[in-house]
Every structure is written in structure tokens, then in C-alpha cells.
């Protein structure tokens, strides 16, 4: 998904009515937003955080210092790790790490839904769509989290809904 398309999805999920126009910069097609006042903003997570503030939903950036830092950490993870590498091996490691991180968590910050969940969901979508049933079961915590986020009101929009099977089929993998 192109960054501009992703930001448009985010705008809608935040309930922002006027659609911004984004240009893209460089070979990595980094999104650029021309704001009304002040300089333009460059970068997916930078613009995303800006939109959240514009929608007066600051709580999506975290409420405490700790939460704020964690949200930004996963946003950075999204643009450096999820977008950065896409060899099969890298993705396997990424899903494995994320799976063990989410072992005891509902959302990335723990108990609160944040921008980090939204952008990681958008970023992982293209990989999760391609997972086999067995792999989805292997990364059980990621699957649980992903399924939860895709059902979160207003987030998924036109993206395809990924099917997760409720019953375990490959019990011996555990």
C-alpha cells in the first residue's frame, strides 16, 4: 500500500473529513504533507501523529510518558523493520518477535489502543494476508491481535478481511 493511500485510510478512521493531498519524495516514496500553516511534514509516522492531533485524539499517541515512548518506538519499528526488510527470513523473525511480545498484551502498549496498533496493522496487512493457516496458528498472539484490530470500528475499511480459524488445527506445533 502506498504511504499516501495509507494516510488517507488513517484520515478516515480518525474521522477527519477533508482529505489531504500528499506528494511523494525520493525512491522510497516518502509521503509529504503540505500543511496550511508552517512547513511541510515529511514521513509516514510524523504525518500520522500530526493527523491524530488534528483530529483531537491525542490519546492515540499515549497518555503517560511511558506510553508515549512505547507508541513512538513501535511507529519507528513499523517504518524501519516492517517496511525496511521484506525477505522471508526477516519477516519470520519479525513475526516471531512480535508474537512473543504480544504474549501478555491486548494492544502494543498493553491495555490501550493507539496509533501504533493502527499503523502496524496497516503495515503488516500485506504479509498476514499471505500467511498459511499453520503459520497463523504458529504466530497465535499476532493473529489474535491482528484479528482484534481489523475488527476495531473504522480501521480496516476497504482492506481485505483476513480469516482466522478459531479452533487449533495443528496442536502438535505447541
Amino acid at each position: 500500500m502506498a504511504a499516501a493511500a495509507e494516510l488517507s485510510l488513517l484520515e478516515k478512521s480518525l474521522g477527519l473529513s477533508k482529505g489531504n493531498k500528499y506528494s511523494a519524495q525520493g525512491e522510497r516514496q516518502i509521503p509529504v504533507l503540505q500543511t496550511n500553516n508552517g512547513p511541510s511534514l515529511t514521513g509516514l509516522t510524523t504525518i500520522a501523529a500530526h493527523l491524530v492531533k488534528q483530529a483531537n485524539k491525542e490519546y492515540l499517541l499515549g497518555s503517560t510518558a511511558e506510553e508515549k515512548a512505547i507508541v513512538q518506538q513501535w511507529l519507528e519499528y513499523r517504518v524501519t523493520q516492517v517496511d525496511g526488510h521484506s525477505s522471508k527470513n526477516d519477516i519470520r523473525t519479525l513475526l516471531k518477535d512480535l508474537n512473543s511480545y504480544l504474549e501478555d498484551k491486548v494492544y502494543l502498549t498493553g491495555y490501550n489502543f493507539t496509533l501504533a496498533d493502527i499503523l502496524l496493522y496497516y503495515g503488516l496487512h500485506r504479509f498476514i494476508v499471505d500467511l498459511t493457516v499453520q503459520e497463523k496458528e504458529k504466530y497465535l498472539n499476532v493473529s489474535r491481535w491482528f484479528c482484534h484490530i481489523q475488527h476495531y470500528p473504522g480501521i480496516r475499511q476497504h482492506l481485505s478481511s483476513v480469516v482466522f480459524i478459531k479452533n487449533r488445527l495443528y496442536t502438535n506445533s505447541h
Binding site: S23, A24, Q25, A65, E66, E76
Partner: protein, 869 residues
Amino acid sequence: MRLFVSEGVPGCLPVLAAAGRARGRAEVLISTVGPEDCVVPFLTRPKVPVLQLDSGNYLFSTSAICRYFFLLSGWEQDDLTNQWLEWEATELQPALSAALYYLVVQGKKGEDVLGSVRRALTHIDHSLSRQNCPFLAGETESLADIVLWGALYPLLQDPAYLPEELSALHSWFQTLSTQEPCQRAAETVLKQQGVLALRPYLQKQPQPSPTEGRAVTNEPEEEELATLSEEEIAMAVTAWEKGLESLPPLRPQQNPVYSRLRQWNTLYLCGTDEYGTATETKALEEGLTPQEICDKYHIIHADIYRWFNISFDIFGRTTTPQQTKITQDIFQQLLKRGFVWQDTVEQLRCEHCARFLADRFVEGMCPFCGYEEARGDQCDKCGKLINAVELKKPQCKVCRSCPVVQSTQHLFLDLPKLEKRLEEWLGRTLPGSDWTPNAQFITRSWLRDGLKPRCITRDLKWGTPVPLEGFEDKVFYVWFDATIGYLSITANYTDQWERWWKNPEQVDLYQFMAKDNVPFHSLVFPCSALGAEDNYTLVSHLIATEYLNYEDGKFSKSRGVGVFGDMAQDTGIPADIWRFYLLYIRPEGQDSAFSWTDLLLKNNSELLNNLGNFINRAGMFVSKFFGGYVPEMVLTPDDQRLLAHVTLELQHYHQLLEKVRIRDALRSILTISRHGNQYIQVNEPWKRIKGSEADRQRAGTVTGLAVNIAALLSVMLQPYMPTVSATIQAQLQLPPPACSILLTNFLCTLPAGHQIGTVSPLFQKLENDQIESLRQRFGGGQLEETFDLKAKTSLKPAVVETVTTARPQQIQALMDEVTKQGNFVRELKAQKADKNEVAAEVAKLLDLKKQLAVAEGKPPEAPKGKKKK
């Protein structure tokens, strides 16, 4: 919480430097682990530094750890910092890791190392110098600085990898590196081994992929082409083919203002505000009557605007009967509705001149420091504000007799009572408007402090008379009636003035000013107009600029430093070049500075080599290869893409100008001509014209497309450089409707078979010696400037004076030598001369500066630049 760090791991630098921020808010235990230790249980690969929080959570991102420390200290995150941190993670880090890998693991040197990071370093340097702030996010050091410093330190601590020409980066880096927390972090992590301390860590890292390591050219602002969709290309082609047909009929009277290019009904006005004390004082000084003074200066001002080709519909003045009529009417309405009240004020009165004295007409002894010549409002010596009645031994400035304190009546505008209406209006107006951030900020801060009643009368003769009994000797305060000038000037232009000024539903009012004038336009006038309840048109978009500085200091009329409006025409530089450069550096968003060297550079690079070169080549090809007739164009997919790119940039130009981003929109013009130059360069029509039939056809298409781009540029240039625009249009014989209407699409306005006129160069090269002599003529040698400021801020001006007057010739001679040597060094650097040679000349320069400092009796400046490690 526990912070895990490791020697020789670069990420530990910023983290340790930032850890101090959390001191007093949380206890940070620092543990040293090996670089390969797996501290975070859920990560497969080793990661240091890591912060284990008391909640059990882990922060494993260097930036996130630093951010957390800053958040603990009460800092709030902002867009700019986020942007820097995202850039650091996605752009800088890959480039830096590659550079460090080449340097430390592969033992490469010089450009092989620097090549991969040069673009990133240049980006930082440009951002720093463009915003003119010592730090990345403003005036003070913040999160972005620490994170970037930490990332860059291992490489840049070796002077070989801190390019000399990136001077802003240079001084930023030096400032941070000398701070104590940073120094300590550097010592802990690098153990005084320099970059080699990172060797064990870097050896474990994967070899950088070739894309990350690619040598990037040193083009500072190379625009990358945006990717286009098929749709965008198709739309651009359709629009292009319609050509002249799509232009609407022309409205009469076209002038170079953007809104007129859009065929919006526009009234463009300005004027001189002529009443007030300043005029009376000046009149006394020059021995003229106030009216004569105003007539004289109004003509001077009008001439300046005319010379600059500013196309006001009317350039009016406030000393007209219309002004009196409208001001008095607004006043009567305010009085009737109870927004004006009278109060008694104690004031000095000169019996001899038979009038009350405005502050500027009194002098006396400062009640605080005893200075003899304190003014009625402020003491020049101790700087304290003075209430004129408190002056000891007051004197009337006109007749030197001693005034007496008497009570007198004044009128006050009840701003507190109007504040609520004003806030309601602002609440309706501001959202979605294009008020500049500084205008909004200034307005809000005045409102936050609460509006105070404002005295609107003065004891002067030169002003709008107050239509009230007992106020025959008084006039309205200039700031009550100056902003009403816009209305009265319109009334002098057309008797239909109320259709502009009492028509808020249909009129969009844009006001342009420097930021110091904001309160009168955003608060005082709107309050008067709202209180008068007469459906006045209020400002919809208040556009305020920041300040423009001169070279490295301020413009100063009294010290003769700087170029002022009336002098620009004596420089021999055409008005359009001035317009171009001043808009190119227009202080939008932040202060900017006028620089002679930069003016020369921008003229020679942007105007001459980019814009002028492109337009001239396009026209020359038509005359030389095609006998002056635009050739047939057969568009290939490549050409269609170019159409779409130009269209995109044109739309960008429109978006920016609709938002009054004048400076940025100028960049779009230059970008299009850069596209054009590349297009010509790649397709080489001068070679193809000699080739096969197909080649000749190709040459025709390229030439035709290029000359159409030139035609488009001529229209886009109109608001910026009207004379140049007209010259291009005459050279290309652009058909009349296409000359002065700009649509949002790029059209073929010069169809095949169109005959163009004679093409000639548009711009002239500015030469170094020409600019150097201008610089000397208008002052602003950096040394004089700092010296002057020193003298001014010194608390003991008398001392400085004695020193300087003792040996003025000697000092002047030294100054000249320093300037000469400075220029010589700059030249050497510009020519990329041998390093040793430059160093020797720099040493001479420093020595001269030291001698000068001694002669001036100042402590010698600390040497700037590189510190030897």
C-alpha cells in the same frame, strides 16, 4: 528503571547524553553489558541500548529511550521533532551504518566513506542554515539534537569527515560536542579510541547493501520526480491538447498580481499613513509644514513602488477629507453605543506654545538615573520607561520653556467591552483561514493577557479632528485612524467603496504586513468595526512576515547599514531581480537575511543558468532550427509524462499561492524550468536536427514542448517578475489571452505553425567585484557590524568612544585589511584551493582580527571553526 549500555555501541551515545534529563524524576541504574547480550526477552537479535522500565516494559529503540527521558523532564512532543527522529531512523541510520562499516571494517577512506552520508549531512546543514537557528528544532537544544548528535558523533568527531563547507552543521556539532553530558557519553562509549572503539560491534553487523552504500552526488536539492499514475498523465495530455480553446474571455485591466491571473475581481491598495507625532517632529526638523512633509514623502514612496513595478490599483494617503469623514463616522457609532468614554489625565502643558505636550515633545532629567536628556516616554541612558509628568526639570522641545502639569480630558476605546465580540469573530474567521502562524500567535497572546482600554486621542494638531465638544485641540491617535485609511483610500478610488468594505459575505480581505503591525489589524481595527455595528468587511486572511535582516546584522537607517527602497534603483540591478531575490528570501515562517553574496549566487545560478538558460534555449531552437515557427509535436509517452510533471508542479504552485506561500511558490517555477533543462539535455535536439527524418521530427517535438513550457513559465512569473514576463511573452509572441490567464492545467498555447519573435538573453551575470563594491557602499561588513553592536550594548558607551576616537585611522586601516584578507580566503575556498594554502591565509586573517580587537580594546574573539583533538 535500568539502562543497559555497552562500550563501543553507537546507540549508547545519545542515550547516555539524554539520561541526565530524567535525573530527579526517576532513578536510572546503568548496567554495562556486552554488545552481544540479549537483554530483551522477546527479541531474537541482540539489541543494546535497552531501557527496562519499572513496569517491566522494555524500550529497545535508541530514539524512544531518549524521547522517554525528555518526556520525563516535562518536554512535549511536536511534529518537527518527530520528523527529525523519523528521518534519523529511516534515512540517516542506513547511510551512517554504511559509512562506518566502510571506514572501520573495510578500512576505506575519504570520499568512499563520506559519499554515502554526504547527502544526509547536507540536509542537516541546509535545514540549520535555512531556519537560521542554532539547533534543529529552534533556539534551544532538544531531543532531535541529542539523537542526531549521538548518531553522528562517531563519524564526525574525526575532522576529516566533517566537511568544512557545511558550516552550519559544523558549528551545531561543535556546540553539542562541547557540552558536558555529551562529552561524558562520548568518553564512556568510545573510550578515547575514536571510531575504532566501534570495531567489534560493527564487525558483527551485516555488510551494507549496495543501495545504502551508493555514492550520492553532492547536488544539494536535487528534486526527485514524483511517480505519476496513468490517470494523471492522461488528464494532463487532454488538457494540453485543448490548448487555447479552454481559456475564458479576458477581463479588462490586467496587472501582475496572482489573483488577477486567476481572473478574480481584485482591488489592490496601499498608502501612506501620514498623521501623528512622527510627522510633526520631522516637519520641525526639516522646517516644513506637516502637509509639505507628507506631500514630499508620499511622492518618494509612490516612486519607489512604481520603480519596483508594484501594481496597486491605488496608492493613497490618510490625509484626505474621506479619511476624516469615515473615521468620525466610526467614532460617532462607537460613542453612541457606549464603547468610548472620557477620562481625566494629568499631562504637561506648555503655556508658551499654548498646548498639551505629547510625550515626544518633552525632554528632561530621568527620575531614575538623573540623565539630563531623557525623553518623555523613555530614558535613553537607563532604558526605563518614564511617565512624562515624572520627569525632573521638564522642557518643551519646541520652545524650551518649562511646562506645567495640568489635567486634561482624553477619550478611551473600551476594548474590554468589545473583547467578547472579537473572540466570537476570530472563532468564526480563524479556522480554515490562511492567517500566518505568527499573526495568530500574536493575536492570541494579546487576548490571553486581556485587552486594556486604549486612549484614542492625542494633543496634536496634525491628525483627524475629534468631533466632540471640548476636544477641539485634540486629534485621534494615529493607530485609531491609520487602519481606517484602507477604507478612505478605497473611497478616494471609487464612490462604490462600501461594496468592498461593507460586504463581508462577498469580499475576502487579505492584509499584508510585518509582524509588528499585527495587533492593530487583528484587534484594534476589528474592535472598532465590530463596535460600530455597520457590517464592515473584516480581515479574512492576515498575512504577517517575520523580519528580514541585512547580512549578519540588522538593517539600520541611522547607521547607514542596508539597502532601502529608494536606494535599490541606484544599484544598477533591475527591479525584477530585486523582486525575485526578495521574494526568494521572503521571511515566511522565520526571519531571513539579505546577503549580497547570496543575491549574486541566486542570480547567476537560478536566474541565469536555470530559468534564463532554459527559456532562451527553447526560443533559440525554434528560431535557429525551424525558422521561427513552432514545429509539429508528436508526443511520446516520455513527453506525456513530462506534461504530467509540469502540470503537477503547476498545481502545486496554485495551491501554494492560494495559501499565500509566496516564497515557496517561486520554487515551483524554478523546478519546472529545471525539468525543462533536463528534458532538453536528455533529448539533444541540436544533434537530432541533423539526423534522419524521425530524428528531425523528434527534435521538433522536443523544441515545441520546451517552448510551450517557456510560455507557461512566462505567465507563472508574472506576479514575481512582471518585466521579464512581458519580455518573454513578446519574444515568443504569446497570444493575448494566454498572456494573462493562468489555468490549473498546462495548455499548448503555442501550437504548431505559431511564429515567434526575436529571442535574446533575459538575464545578466552579476560579477563579484560589482557586488563587492555594492557591499562596501551599503555597509554591513561583518566586523563593523559586530563592533557597532558592541558599542551599543555596552553599558559604558563613553569608554568605548574614547578608545575608538583615539586611533580611528589605525582601526579603519586594520578593518580594511581584515575585509580584504577575509575576501581573499573566501575566494580561495570557493576555488577549492590547496588546504595548506587556505590554512596559511586563514592564520593571517586570524592574526589581523586579533590586532584589530586589540586596537579596539576588546578581548580577542575566541577562534571559531575546527578544534584540534
